[in-house]
Every structure is written in structure tokens, then in C-alpha cells.
Symmetry: D2
Subunit: 401 residues, 4 copies
């Protein structure tokens, strides 16, 4: 790659742009992870993650990417052949389902069209039919990174309860946590799964499980073989601020800074900021005459927006034109959406002017690629953001509040 | 200052945004500046700066900011009471004139209205009247950072020659070098002056003099007292890659990287890029119905644009609104332009999308501050930049070529 | 922790001191791991690791610490209930054995006294008795970080071959690779396991498997459930420079730099350097009248030295005195060696003067802690290192060559 | 330079080893030096430097190296032809004297042998003879970096007072401040001069003047031409936390961190630490049978030790052997001491184990270079440092207290 002036716009839906404060926090000598100083770090990040997850239960941190935390959630709570109920919200739900099968689980998959979130009624129906409670866990993706569609986790919990079913609720909030509200305890989530490179603004390499009392109980009986992912030893060492094997120390330095930054800004402000970016982005998309993939307004993601291409146009060609001309990376369409959508990440360490630059790059890219569209998308975003700044009607803020 | 998400937009006309590559290059242990490894560094940056200055004569590097290099140019070439001819192009010309007076020079100042560059005819007239050649130097600011007006240095040289006058030509190209073309040798510049925090993309702390053979000759007789700024010892040590006193080693690490980046991109590409940003910015300003301070098209700066406020509106209030709401710093109006103009820096390590973000911040700021203007500035810039990207008529590129 | 002047001496046997070049290489914006630029990085580090492992077979890289790579080696090649033969060389062999049991393997453990390496004759005996080839794998730790004892991997391979046994050879070279010679292909290692924070000079967070053709073949039949660790998808994506899930991008930046540094220095020079440190350290230990844990000279580790305390003295108290007074971390005794030994790490990015500082800290610590010893350990090391520098008899260099 | 493993030992008497905390503090985006956030930084470092200088008078900070602050002290307080009294303590006093002459001052130079500090009696004698008070300033180097000899500044002040002479006292404490005690106000120093790369642990590029009320008064009449160095404008802008021209912003980030580190450790602890290093170093030198250049015990520098070579041996060859074999830079002998002494820097961010490494490098270097010496220098240092750690008789600490 030849040198290009200015900062690259990394507007994929994760990894998000890592702020300098975090990069610099990681750029420090690795310490002895069995020494006294480490315990302070360990306790700080473990407690901080509980705040971010909004849980009073333990959170464990793996030196692994998010896929590892999916596996950890399954192998700690389930046994070979166990039935689990999963919901096809998009590519990541599909991958998780594939993993469950590989691990020897009997994973049922409720069909979906990749434009809607989980249907709580369908979950309730399936569970009600499972009279002898063979389904051990319901697995849902809170925030589908492949589609930009959010699922209503609290409603899924209500559906489980309405069915009077004891299944555990395992939730992937990989692209949501730290950008949109997530209430582990209030929503009755048994295991919440996330990783470092989205709302936590970090490079990839860390992933997380929150563990409810019921999940912990389940882990005592769960029969899937496990060692690296085992909660028991992890929790035992975490109690004193340590880890059973070498932690990714320098990433933990970054995590400490990330948590501090989120709390400095205030989680509610973080959520409102993301809601604002998301509303502005959709206004731009509509002004261009393009279609947002997510169909139900209450399910629109605040973290990314997947945009459908006009019939006959290639999303990947547009992305290539934009990368070439304007040095911006956008997310590709995955699996059945390949070349049909592009995804705009507007998450993490991000502000209004960078969003305007991002949308400007897309509007210019549409022109440069010769794709039919209306001008005025950036203008629509400007109008909305200026209105919010002027203290006018802030739909986003209201929606969050 | 509380934490704000996303990157601050530092759109003052210098210091420009320092790219990570340069910051990281500086983030290294200081070396022994008398050891063998240092000589390699010294020779590399000295030779590199000759390329940037387009000169085969020596360039010296001071651990000092640009003001120091002004002083160096004067004290090395002049004696107490010497007459010098200076031209009032704006605040920095005015400050340099003040410095000349403080140093005991007899500094004549050709009036200007801060909206035009140097008038070569006026220079020629003054020199022609100076029949006994008492004027020892003509001092001009190539690129007035306070007004966004460029002066035609080659024309000034022609004026001096046309007058048959032996005065030295000392030129401040502080905000120009590395962003707009500057040809030290071809234009017959005797001392060119610059510093690190503009086109060189560095933090402040280094400044430079190029030294023509005639300037060097003049320094043998020049009587102003000098030690720190003395060229003689500097050149003597530079010959082997060293410095007579402690150089700002870590800033030199950054300079080495900066020179490499400019040459990787190619100077002509760098100049075309700045011309493009400048044209896009003026189109936005005009679309808003505002006025560019610079009056003559051929003198418009490619590095910054100074914008006149509508009558009765405060530029500083607008800047405060923008800083508060959109986390962007713009340049203030200086001296007689105080509160009357704001200055948009579009120099250094910068790209199209960041420019769109910058202009978006101004357009939203005008709204948020309730200042009467037309919408469509950002749109005008988008249209222009998309046209350039599409390979359409690139006025900027043509103008440079 | 209050501020302490100077650099902390991190002389545990890993994480080793991370050099600034690597920290700075990691301190860069995370890139799109599905973009074109990433593929270059991916291919570079994958090919580089083959050079370090001295293999022409593929190497895979996990975003995980070394324990994960142990698990990967087992779950990719084995099925539930499979017999494996392991050798008790110390705490890490013991932990790996425990992991094998947790994963449902029938793991036999050849006893050891923690002061010797693997006994190839014993391995051969066990394999010869396994006439129907139920043992699927022999697992040995090349370099026991808990004891400072090296095992002769080539001899183990010869033993397997001599027994005419088809078992795979899985080797943990976690603390050896990159510091002492390791010849994956020449020694017939089927899976070699390592991680980032030892000879590779990185922070923890990456781990590795090399995969022989036979190991790959075994993975087609192996029945242990796996997803995150699965070689198949990994190799499929690696072929084009990508990863099946988010890689730890910033750690890969560091890895690229680490590989470059090892190759710049030259692997043979790296090995000779470690041999020199190790010899100097043992001379110091003997001069103090203390005992090196490793009993057989040809098995002495070049990476760390475990030192037995005099009867009745606490190793942990000595370590605490040294940390408190001289800001140096030493490795603790593990498991049955708890409080009985301390371990001196002399691996990774390290030089003669830092070794002298390290040994000086121990000699002063022995005094400060009131532990009976002879003076002169540092002097013995100085004498040896000066002799080597003077080109005198370099036992270490000879031993390596 | 080819890559060498481990950290370079930069044991010249400045630049000292810059700690990571400071490098990382500098590795941040440059801010608008006219914006509100800057004023906080400016006020913090200006107030912090008053604490370090132990003065209630203003301190000014130049973007310049130490030589610039020498010039600033002279041009702000003196007029062309003024008589000043200077004392030949070594190379830096000699250079400062040369500067005074270049600037047109009538600079008297009291002879010295480069092995003693300033003789207060000689100063008093000269001043007493100057009955009409033509001598306007006495200039002394508190801490001669070329010789490792300290002068008694308080005694010089007493000598001036005893002579009843109104001359200003200008003191270069470039290599002393921040490492050894310096009491600007208590000792009646009118202008104290220092720079960033010694006790302040920074890279070069910043220098300082403290300004007494009398010095400020003198500056109103002083006639030497000045602009860049002018205190008046500097103080005017500093009052609000700003600077009259671009400050070296990123170096100021580092300075803020440096001040914080010194105050965290506690100045008295910093001074005691340096005294300890210095005593240990001299014990090593004597054990080798070599001679410390400084002749008077009370004048021994705590920051560096200059060591005389045995007759007929080249110091520069020894330094080259040590650099080549042990990757350590030592200071060269300057001017009349060229090749006769080497200088060991033991200042700044430094600890006991790095000192042992440093002394080890010298002892091994003496061997490798075949220079006749006794062994046991490192041992002597170890014995002393262990004794101090054990709470034994700490001569150094007593001397400081």
C-alpha cells in the first residue's frame, strides 16, 4: 500500500477506530502477571466490566476474540447432544449455530429473513412445545452485525418466562455492548457475550462472558469437554485479580482505559451519541433514495447501518471505489447479502464531523461509481445534526430516554 | 476539559494535525547526539530538507520555533542600522517587521490592505529609488498565515533584478513549504525560512534557514551579535551530520519520517492535493454566501482560507460555538482582523473526507450560532471533489501544473 | 504502586521484556481485517513463523495465550478416550496433562523428578509395550519453564521411530522457540506449540501450532469437539492471508516486527546470545554457592535458570526483598517447588549489561535478605562475558555450533 | 546500525535515558496553542518549574536547547560592552564565555584547572577590585558537565555580597537541576539556566530561565538586541498560560509528565538517589585503580563521574570498545580533556540495577580493551548499594541531608 495523506476512515462495524488514548495505554511494558501490581489491574477491569454489562454477577475475560466467547458460553453450560434454540437473524447467528453443531449440540434454528430481529412469539411457541424441557438454552444475537438489526432481549426473556421454561438465555451482544444499552441482570440474561473491538473501542483480542447464578449452576453439570474456556478455574483466580494462564496483559491496559473513557463520557451519553449518528445516517440513506436493510424502526441498529444497493448494482464495486478514491473502509455484505448491501459502521470513538466525512465519502462514492442516486444525503444529516446541536427536537435522545 | 469521543478536528492553519507515523517516530529513546548513529540521522534530514526546499545550498535546522528562524535570517545577514524593505501583507509580516526594529534595523514597511500579496512593482520602485544601495535585504512573507494570501516570490525576485539592486531576498515560507510549491534556487531566494508545524506535519519546535551563497557571503560581514543562531558553527558541524549544541533529537526523528512521507506521496501530488482542498473550500464559502478574505484568485492560499464574517457577526463567537458543539478548532482573526475573520486550515496530513467533516462543522456551526447563510456549502464541495475523483475537470490540478 | 525511577527489571521467564520497537509497532490504528492491506500482513507473519519454526508445513496463529495452543493441538488430533503419553518434566507438563484429562483423553504420565528432561528410553519402552498402537500421541515439553530443563526432542523422535510406533509427536516449545534452536521438520515434530510472550518478545495474547502432514491427516478423523481451535477453517482462510474470525490485529503488527528483529539479528546469533547469558548466570549461581535446579549440563536451559534456595530459606521472601529494594521481578517456584526455587529469566530482548544488572540485583538481594552466600557471582559473570567479548573461549557459542 | 538486542545504555551525562512515561506523554496530537485547553497546560508547567527551581519568581520556557537559555540570560540583562565575570570550570564555562564575547560583552575569565569548582574567594577579589561596579554580572556553571565538578553557588553569592557588589548572579545549572539540590531564591540566583535533557529526563528542545526581580529590573535597561529571547513579551503571555510564538507543544506534554514524576518521587528522594549512584560509581572507579577527575570530595558531581585514563591509554578507544561490545554510550572528554577522560552519566531516570549494568560494562570494557586495571569495581559498588539497601550507613543520604 502506498502512503495516503490523512487518516483512514475505518467505518466497518468493528473493529472500530481505536482512539489514541487506548493505543497509548497499551504501549507500555508488559508486567509480571503474577506480581502484586497486576492484581490491581485485574480487579479494576473485572469490576469495570460488570458496570459496562450492568451486572452484579461475575464477568470473565478471555485472551481470545469474540468467537471464543461464543464457544465458552456453550461449552460451560451444555452437554453433548443438548438441544438449544437459536434464531436466524443474520450471518453471525448462522455462524454461532454452525459452531453449536460442530460442538455436538442439537441446535434448532428458527428461520429469519435477515431484516428482522428475533421474534419473541416464535421463541415462546417453541419453548411451549418443549414440554419436557429438553431445550437447555435459547441463544440470541442482540445486535446483528451483519444486518444492523437489533433484537429485543427483554422481550425474549419475557417469552421464556411466559412459556414457563427453564432454558438459559445466552446472548451475543458483541457489537452492541458499550454503544447501545444492555442490561444483563434486569433482562435476565444468563450469559452475555462480547468482545473488545466494537463499543469497547479496542483492537480485537479480548472477549467476555457474564455469568448468572443459574449459568454457573449449569456449568457444574455441563459435560462438554473444556479447559481453556472453563469458568471454574477462571473465577477462582479472578477472585484475587489474577488469571489461571497468561492474560493478554497489554490488551488489559487498553481495556482499563476504555472502561474509564466510557464512564467519563457517561453510558447514557454514549448511547445517545450512537442513536444520533444512527438517525443521521438513515436520513442520509433515505435522501439518497436507497433502502435501509432493517425493516422495523424500533429494531434499527445504532451502531451500524446496512444499506441495500439499487437492483443490479454491486455493493463491493462501490466499496472498492470508495476505498480507492476516498480511503474509507465500509463493511461488506455477508453470505446471502454478499454484494447486495454495504454496511456503515458508526460506532465506538466517533463524532459528528467524522460522521459527516463518512457520509460525504459515500455520497461522492455513489457519484464516482456512477450509481443512480439523489444528492442531498449529507445535507439531510447536516440538517439533523445541526438541529440536535441547536437543542431542537432530538428524536435520538428521546428514543434512548 | 472533559473527555469527548472521536478525534478533535484541529483545523487551524498550523500546527496541523500530526499524523501517527510522525508521533510514533518521535516516541523513541533519545540517542547520543555525538555518537556515530546520530550522524546518519543528521545527514539524512539535512539532505532531505534540501529536497523539500528545492535547493542545492545548505539548509540549517534550529531547535526553535519559526520566530527563531526569522531572527536567524536577520542576524546572520545584517548589521545594526541596516535598511531592510518589508511588505505589509498581514500579521506575520507585521510581527517580522517589529522584530527587525527590535533588533536595531531600519525597517521600511510598504503598506498593504491584508487582502493582497506583495506588490512586486512597489518593491521595484523602492529599490530603484535606493540608488546607493543602502537597502540590504528585501523581506517578504510568501504565504501569509493570517490572511490566506500568497505572494509571488519569483516576481519579487524579478523586480529586484529589474531594479538592478543587490539586496538579499529573505522569504518566510512558514505556512507554505511542504504544502505549496516553493523553489528556493529557481526563484533566487537567499534565505528561505520555515518551521516544522505546517506542511511538515510536525509539532512545533524546529525551524529552518536555507542559505544561498550570497547570504553566506553576507554573513561574513554582518555585524548583528549572534551566537545561538550563527550559521558558521552550524554549517561546520552539519558537514559531518552533527550540531554545535544539543539538537532536538526526537523532533529530528519525526522530521525524518515527515520528509519520507512527503517524498513517498510525491511533492507534486502533495501540492495538487492542497490545491484541491482549497478550491473545494472556497466553493463552500461562496455557496454559504460568505466572502473569502483573499481578493485575487491567483493569490488564494492552498493551505488555509480566511473567511470574512457577515457585518455585525462575531467570528470568535462562531469559533466558540463550533468548538463547543463540534469539537473543531478554527483559526482566529489576528490584529486588525480580530473577530472579523475565521481561518480554516486545510493543510498537512489531510484528506477529502476530513475536509468534508471540517466544512460540515462550519455549516452546522453557522446554523447553531444563528448566523444568516445559505445552505449548500458542503454540497458544493462534495460536487467538486466527486468531479475530481471521477477524473473530471480538475481546476486545481491544472492550476498547479 | 508508587513511581520508581528507572526501568523495572522483568526477569521472570516470560513475559519477557517487550522491546520498544514491538510496542511501537502495535501502537497503530487497527485495520480492516477483511481488506486488501490485511492480507499482506497475514501472509507475512504466517510465512515468518514458518521460518522461526523451521518448518515448511503450515503454522496457525490463535488470538489466545499458550494454553489455548495446547488445547488446539489436542482437540485437532485426538478423539475422546484416546490414549496419550505425557512426561512429567515439571509444572507445565503437569498442567498440560491435567488439560488432557479434562478434555476426556486417557493421558498416561511418566513420572519425573522435575530436575531432568524427558527420558527417551522410557518413551520408547512405553511405546514398545503398546503393541496395538492405542497411544495416539506423545506429548513433551521441550523447554520446561518451571524448572529450566530442556528435553532432547530429536531423541524423543528417534525413540518413537525406534519403537516403530505411529504416535504423533506434540511438543510444547513455549519458552524455547525464538531463544533456543528448534527444528520442527528436521526433528519430526507433528505439532509444535508456542506463544508470543517468550522468545518472540511480545506481550501475551497470541499462540501457535505448526501442523505436519500427519497431524493434518489425523485432524480429519479426530473426534474431539472443536470450533474456535479448528485447523480446517483456519488453514482455508490463511491461504489468502485472512482469518476465519477477528484476529488480534495489533498483536500481529507486533509479531511482524518481532519476526523481523529475530531475522535481522540472525537466529544463530540469537541462540548464541542466550547460551552466553545462560552460562554466565550459572557461573554466578555457583559462585554464590547455590545450586542450579537442572542437574544434567546438556539439559540446562538457555532461557531461564531455576535456583534452589539453601535449606530453610524462603525463595519468595528473597523475591519480595529484591522486588522491594531493587525493582526486579523474578519467577516464583511452582507447585512442588513453591518457595524452594526462584527462577531467573534471561530471555528475549536482553543484553550483557542488563544481565549484569540482573545478577547484581540477586547478589545484593541475597545480602539484603541476610541469606548466607559467597560474594563473587557477578564477578564470575563479568569475567566470563569479558572473555567472550575478547574473543576468548566461548563455550556457549561452541555448544550451540 | 544493525539491530542489537536489549536496551542501549545511554550513559552520557545528558541526554539522559528518557523514560517511557515521558515519551508516551509526548506521543499525543498537538493541540491549538491558542485554545482554552492549552492555557491549563501552560500554567501547569510554568508553576511546576517554579517548584523544581525552588523559586517564587517567574520561570520562562524556550523552544530551544540549553545554549539558547545561556543567550537569553545574557541578552536580557546586559548591554554591548558590559563587563561580566566568568570562571573557567571546564568546557561549558568556556563555551559560555565564548558566547559572551560573540555577543559583544567584555567577558573576563578567571582561570581554572578543570578539576575544581569556582573559587568564591577569587570572585570576591575580582569584585572588590571593581570599585566603580563596571562588572554587571557574575556567570558561573553550577555543575560542569565536562568535568563532573560542582560549584558552591551559595558561597559565590556570599562572595558577591561580601564584596558589596551589585553584579547579577547568572547560574548555569543545566546538568544539575532535577538531580541535585538547587535553591534559586535561597541562594540569591538572579537567572538560573537549565534545559530539558538532563535531570528533567526529557529529550532536548526546551530550555529555561528563572528571573529574579533584580534581573527583571536589569532587563528594562539592557541594550543587547533581542526578540526571540525577550522576557517581556514572554512573561506577558505566560501570565495567562500562553506563549508569544508557537511553543514546542509536544515537548511541553513531556515536561508536564517529567515534573509530575519528580514530585511523585519527591525531590529529596531524587537527590538522595543520585548521591547514592555517585558514591557507588566512585567506589568502583577507585577499586579499578583509576582516578576521578574531580579533586575535592565536596565538589564531586552526583550526576556524572569523569574518569582519568591511565597514562598512555586512549579514552576514546575504550569508549569505542564498550559501544561495540556492550552497546553502551559513555561521554567523551571535551577540549583539553579529549581522549584523556571518559564520563559516566548516572542521572535522570535510573536505578541501582542499571548502574550495576553500567559499571559492569566499563569493567568488562577495560578488560576487552586490554587496559591495565584491578578487578572489583562492580563488587565495590554492589557492596555499597547492598549496604544502603540493608539500611546500613548511607553516606550519600547523610551528605544530602
Amino acid at each position: 500500500m502506498t502512503y495516503r495523506s490523512g487518516r483512514h476512515f475505518l467505518q466497518i462495524p468493528g473493529p472500530s477506530n481505536v482512539p489514541d488514548r487506548i493505543l497509548r495505554a497499551m504501549d507500555k511494558p508488559t508486567m509480571d502477571h503474577r506480581g502484586p501490581e497486576f492484581a490491581e489491574l485485574g480487579k479494576t477491569v473485572l469490576a469495570g466490566m460488570q458496570q459496562i454489562f450492568k451486572t452484579e454477577n461475575p464477568v470473565v475475560i478471555y485472551p481470545a476474540s469474540g468467537t471464543g466467547a461464543w464457544e465458552a458460553a456453550l461449552v460451560n453450560t451444555l452437554s453433548a447432544g443438548d438441544r438449544v434454540l437459536m434464531c436466524e437473524t443474520g450471518q453471525f447467528a448462522t455462524l454461532w449455530h454452525g459452531m453449536a453443531q460442530k460442538l455436538g449440540l442439537d441446535a434448532e434454528f428458527i428461520d429469519g429473513d435477515w431484516r428482522h430481529g428475533v421474534d419473541p412469539a416464535a421463541v415462546q411457541r417453541h419453548l411451549s412445545e418443549d414440554r419436557d424441557h429438553q431445550i437447555k438454552a435459547v441463544c440470541v444475537v442482540h445486535h446483528e452485525t451483519s444486518t444492523g438489526v437489533t433484537s429485543d432481549v427483554a422481550a425474549v426473556r419475557r417469552a421464556i418466562d411466559a412459556a414457563g421454561h427453564p432454558a438459559l438465555l445466552l446472548v451475543d451482544t458483541i457489537s452492541g455492548l458499550g454503544s447501545v444499552d444492555f442490561r444483563t441482570d434486569e433482562w435476565g440474561v444468563d450469559v452475555a457475550i462480547t468482545c473488545s473491538q466494537k463499543g469497547l473501542m479496542m483492537p480485537p483480542g479480548l472477549s467476555f462472558n457474564s455469568i448468572s447464578a443459574r449459568a454457573l449452576q449449569a456449568s457444574k453439570q455441563a459435560g462438554l469437554p473444556r479447559s481453556y474456556w472453563g469458568w471454574d478455574e477462571m473465577l477462582q483466580h479472578n477472585a484475587r485479580g489474577y488469571f489461571p494462564y497468561s492474560p493478554a496483559t497489554n490488551l488489559l491496559y487498553g481495556l482499563k482505559e476504555a472502561i474509564a473513557m466510557l464512564l467519563e463520557e457517561g453510558l447514557d451519553n454514549v448511547f445517545a451519541r450512537h442513536a444520533r449518528f444512527s438517525e443521521a445516517t438513515r436520513r442520509a440513506v433515505r435522501a439518497w433514495g436507497l433502502e435501509v436493510l432493517s425493516l422495523v424502526p424500533s429494531e434499527h441498529s445504532n451502531v451500524l447501518t446496512a444499506v441495500l444497493m439499487p437492483e443490479g448494482e454491486s455493493a463491493d464495486r462501490l466499496r472498492a471505489v470508495i476505498l480507492e478514491n476516498f480511503d474509507m473502509s465500509l463493511g461488506t455484505g455477508l453470505n446471502k447479502l454478499q454484494d447486495r448491501v454495504f454496511r456503515i459502521g458508526h460506532l465506538g470513538d466517533f463524532n459528528d464531523l467524522s460522521l459527516i466525512g463518512t457520509l460525504g465519502g459515500i455520497e461522492m462514492g455513489l457519484s464516482a461509481a456512477g450509481i443512480s442516486h439523489n444528492k442531498g444525503g449529507v445535507q439531510a444529516a447536516l440538517d439533523y445534526l445541526a438541529e440536535v446541536a441547536a437543542g431542537g427536537q432530538d428524536c435520538a435522545r428521546q428514543r434512548v430516554a
